[in-house]
Symmetry: C2
Subunit: 171 residues, 2 copies
């Protein structure tokens, strides 16, 4: 198997759901947002938008909108990821582009020793999240990423299908 | 700005649309498919499926289904990416997971010196692609990735919004 630092980052990244009290620096958050913007998108429309939440009280309000309250409440940084619907040209392609953008954030974080988890369950309350954050009407919540440092990172726990299971053999 | 190899890979990746005659090795394709499978997905449902196309005649048939015939016809390897609809639990979250999976492929390729482009326009003919590849009924085409080596790679050409433009400031 070919390995290099990028491939190692991809293969060793796992969801991290418990965080230490150590902060995430402004420079680290800036690097995450910069990397996010370098995902590809159809027609290069870059439909992703972000809100960075570091305020404890806002975090507490958001934590009440999901089953995963403890994760949200304990993360030193949350990044809410939105589709700017007015920039959308093809909803399904835009959703995939936003997935690519989120993956850039997760990988960049992992490469800096920051653990993250991509939270989707909170989308059931996406309107309430937008109300709390007072985002523009054309921002539609797509995910919340919780980020923090952790001593509890244990690589290699998530079960994965092998390429033999996911790859269809063409006749 | 914080830099490391993974961040450099993320920031220097660009779409590559012209390929040299140099082949992509089996080991390289295997690494791409392995990395693809390490994207996160909701409930870890891993809804992505792949077909690797290296056959010139099949490539020629696929090239007739898109405006971007030259790219498809000249790429030594194509990876068709599907949603396995029977594994889907939430279509929009699954599409984002597939976007993350595609980004893993693009980044792993770039880290190995392989250029790629994510093709979405061919989705207008997704049923015909499935017919040519004879994929199962529960495979829905989401993208075709063209991959190859290139002498024409020029980093830094795509225009990107700055984080200031994409980040909403919470009051």
């Amino acid at each position: 198997m070919i390995r290099n630092e990028t491939i190692d980052t991809i293969l060793s990244r796992r969801s991290v759901r418990k965080y230490s009290a150590d902060p995430i620096s402004k420079d680290e958050t800036a690097a995450l947002l910069k990397c996010a913007g370098f995902a590809p998108s159809g027609l290069n429309n870059q439909p992703w938008r972000f809100a960075v939440i570091e305020d404890e009280e806002i975090g507490r309000q958001l934590s009440m909108l999901t089953h995963y309250s403890d994760i949200i409440a304990s993360a030193p940084v949350l990044i809410a990821v939105f589709l700017e619907t007015s920039s959308s040209y093809h909803r399904e392609k835009d959703l995939m582009a936003i997935g690519a953008c989120i993956q850039n954030i997760l990988l960049a974080a992992h490469s800096m020793g920051i653990g993250t988890v991509w939270l989707g369950e909170i989308l059931k309350n996406k309107e309430k999240v937008s109300e709390i954050l007072k985002t523009p009407d054309n921002f539609e919540l797509m995910a919340v990423i919780a980020a923090g440092r952790s001593n509890e990172f244990s690589p290699g726990t998530a079960d994965r299908k092998s390429p033999d299971e996911t790859t269809f053999k063409i006749e």
